[in-house]
């Protein structure tokens, strides 16, 4: 109970910080529809809405799967759709250093959905089936891995991706391909040394790396509030100290996020130098299933908020919106039924892929 109260208080602080810092595009606009959405075309707005709904419905399906006892653990991204969907859409998708690399943490569903991941694959992951394309039943929900899209495997230890991201960016720099490396993570995790590692290595004079370094600031690290953990005014200030382009955005607004990402990515591709984005956003179902995975009141819901704006503007009709939600509900439900019939990995498979080419790794057979 106490946690919920302070959570709400905290989120208010975050949004007021955002508003004070920068006037948000959506808030500013009063006149035409064009202004309302900062000039983004209607098709793109509707596409983003569709993907945001899909990602939300998928996450809520994952929670239901957990609560039904079909999964051991849930962690995911409800509340990060306005951030993650534009990120997935703007990524230059493909395999190898000519394309963008993504080093995500465990809240990457919206990005993967926007990149084209079918819902059922996320469900296979949380239900630890052998059909799970990310880990074959070996790892938790939202621990995605898509080498064909340069999506590096998500690993549970906080912040380690900030160090590994340097390597893919380093190779991209060598290839002069204008591709970049994106790294994401939470606010609390920035206390880890790997965050500082990332800023130091990405910004060395004359050796700057083409990286988009990002933090999704939801104001929490599990139960620990942002306020008790930070002396810096904003996390983005830490990047500024390394002469990295840096900004704070309202990550609950897909339009502002889309434009900011577009601008920073273009700058990185042009200059080969890093940019930093701190996105302030919500955490709508708590940290994970370990904290109950129940809907938390008092935080802004970016999907509902964006939908409201699309409805008000007339870009979207109530009946259309309803259809989108229902279609994804159905897809998620059917996927769960399907995955229930799929096998888990076999016991003998524990020795698979310890070494490349399935070289024997069992010492009993050395």
């Amino acid at each position: 109970m106490q946690v919920q109260v302070s959570r709400a208080k905290n989120s208010k602080k975050i949004s007021s910080r955002v508003n004070k810092k920068k006037s948000v595009g959506v808030k500013k606009a009063t006149g035409s529809k064009k202004n309302l959405f900062s000039g983004l075309p209607k098709e793109l707005l509707l596409h983003m809405h569709d993907l945001m709904v899909k990602s939300r419905v998928l996450e809520e399906r994952l929670i239901k799967i957990y609560k039904a006892g079909d999964a051991f653990f849930w962690i995911g991204a409800p509340g990060e759709e306005a951030w993650g969907v534009p990120l997935g859409l703007l990524t230059k998708k493909g395999q190898g250093p000519k394309y963008d690399y993504l080093h995500l943490h465990y809240r990457g569903t919206p990005t993967l959905v926007a990149m084209g991941m079918p819902m059922i694959d996320s469900i296979r992951l949380i239900m630890n089936r052998s059909t799970d394309p990310s880990t074959g039943g070996r790892n938790f929900s939202n621990h995605y891995c898509y080498p064909q899209w340069n999506v590096a495997p998500v690993s549970s230890p906080i912040e380690v991706q900030y160090g590994m991201a340097l390597g893919t960016a380093h190779v991209q720099k060598r290839h002069k391909s204008q591709a970049l490396t994106v790294v994401t993570g939470g606010d609390a995790g920035t206390a880890e040394g790997d965050f500082a590692t990332c800023l130091v290595w990405a910004s060395r004079r004359g050796q700057e790396l083409p990286m988009l370094i990002t933090v999704q600031n939801n104001g929490w690290g599990i139960s620990t509030a942002f306020e008790g953990q930070h002396g810096e005014t904003e996390i983005a200030d830490r990047a500024r100290a390394f002469n990295i382009r840096s900004r704070v955005i309202n990550g609950n607004d897909p339009v502002e996020t889309y434009l900011a990402l577009q601008e920073e990515m273009a700058a990185i591709r042009k200059t080969g130098k890093p940019s930093f984005i701190e996105a302030r956003l919500s955490r709508l179902y708590g940290h994970s299933s370990a904290s109950g995975a129940n809907f938390v009141g008092g935080e802004l819901d970016c999907v509902r908020e964006f939908e409201k704006k699309l409805l008000t503007s007339g870009y979207l009709k109530e009946s259309q919106a309803k259809k989108i939600w229902e279609a994804y509900e159905k897809e998620g439900f059917e996927a769960q039924q399907q995955v229930r019939t799929e096998p888990g990995p076999s016991s003998e498979s524990i020795w698979d892929h310890v070494y490349a080419d399935n070289e024997n790794a069992d010492w009993r057979k050395f």
């Binding site: 790892n139 495997p153 690993s155 160090g163 390597g167 892929h353 070494y355 490349a356 010492w363 050395f366």
Partner: protein, 351 residues
């Protein structure tokens, strides 16, 4: 004959020239120093990293994710400990992605005592390294093996930890590296940077050849009949000496250079113990949950009824560090006389 630092340098050059190595990096690895032990002088793709071990390992993992080959150095293994969770991830990435993300990278780091390096330049890492599934772990005892094992490490599609017995960096071998000039002086003039200003110096590399020392293959360095001594790194050379000394006393010692700690060559070890009925495992990492204990356990389990004596592990004392004063270092690290006494005792033991 090359010393180990020169052998490593030449293997890295071979890696750059023939195996696609594009980055050799770490603290002071690039010009002007070329490595704390000069093992990376004169190479084309070396660069100096920030003083940040976690950054070094993270960078190597990211490079490996793109499929490109790199060799990263941790200046002393004493400073590798803050990267252990990253090493674990490097070892589990292929597995947890169900075979999708290989991690072909090499991390090399000097290990062990023997240079009066006190607490933070004397650590061993072999026992720790043996607890990193997914990694291959090698440790040469000669320049020739260092050359061949490093080439194998670079070719391997898995993460490989290349442990360098730092006290052997300046020790010369007895076997020529393929392509190496016979004359020591000539080699030196070709591949050693001059003292003083090096800004204009360029190495002249010999026409080096490939050398396959497969990972996972031990070598019998002294054939013998009465006892098997398994070691690696610096202590392997000590064990060779003891075997030579004891021969005149009529004690026949078979010495095995394990060379690869993981995946280790059990067949060679097993065949030898079956022949001798006696086994001692020697290394200088601390003695509690030492890698030698695993080998001794396995020997006991699989060869119990063929053994004539209890398998023995001789390892570093389980104290927090190696003290600077020689009395302290020598009391912590297995000494020649101690190993020799143990060999005599085990040979004399009867069931």
């Amino acid at each position: 004959m090359a010393n180990m630092a020169q052998a490593i340098r030449m293997a890295l050059h071979y890696g750059e020239a023939h195996l696609g190595v594009k980055d050799i990096f770490g603290q002071d690895v690039g010009a002007p120093l070329g490595g704390a032990f000069t093992a990376t002088q004169g190479l084309k793709t070396t660069w100096n990293s920030p003083l940040d071990e976690r950054g070094i390992i993270g960078m190597a993992m990211g490079i490996a994710m793109t499929g490109e080959r790199c060799v990263a150095e941790i200046q002393f293994c004493d400073y590798i400990f803050n990267t252990i969770d990253l090493l674990k991830i490097a070892g589990n990435t292929l597995w947890v992605t169900n075979g999708q993300y290989p991690m072909p990278l090499v991390v090399m780091t000097p290990v062990g005592a023997g240079i009066r390096g006190s607490i933070y330049h004397s650590h061993s890492f072999d026992a720790w390294a043996s607890r990193l599934p997914g990694w291959k772990v090698v440790m040469p005892s000669t320049p020739h093996d260092a050359y061949g094992l490093l080439i194998s490490a670079i070719k391997d599609p898995n993460p490989v930890l290349f442990l360098i017995p730092k006290a052997l960096m300046r020790v010369r071998g007895e076997e020529l590296i393929p392509g190496e000039p016979r004359e020591e002086k000539e080699l030196k003039s070709m591949v050693d940077a001059p003292i003083g200003d090096r800004s204009k110096w360029k190495p002249r590399w010999p026409e080096l050849q490939d050398l396959a020392i497969p990972i996972g293959q031990a070598q019998i360095t002294r054939p013998g009949e009465q006892i098997t001594v398994v070691s690696y790194g610096r202590h392997l050379l000590v064990c060779n000496q003891i075997a030579d000394d004891l021969r005149s006393d009529g004690i026949s010692v078979e010495v095995i250079d394990l060379r690869t700690i993981y995946p280790y060559d059990w067949q060679t070890v097993k065949a030898s113990i079956q022949k001798t009925g006696r086994a001692i495992f020697v290394n200088e990492d601390t003695e509690v949950t030492n890698f030698g204990e695993h080998l001794a356990y396995r020997a006991t389990q699989e060869l119990f009824y063929e053994l004539m004596a209890r398998p023995l592990v001789i390892a570093g004392k389980n104290v927090p560090g190696i003290g600077l004063h020689p009395n302290l270092e020598d009391a912590s690290i297995p000494q020649k006389h101690e190993i020799e006494t143990a060999i005599r005792a085990v040979v004399a033991e009867t069931p």
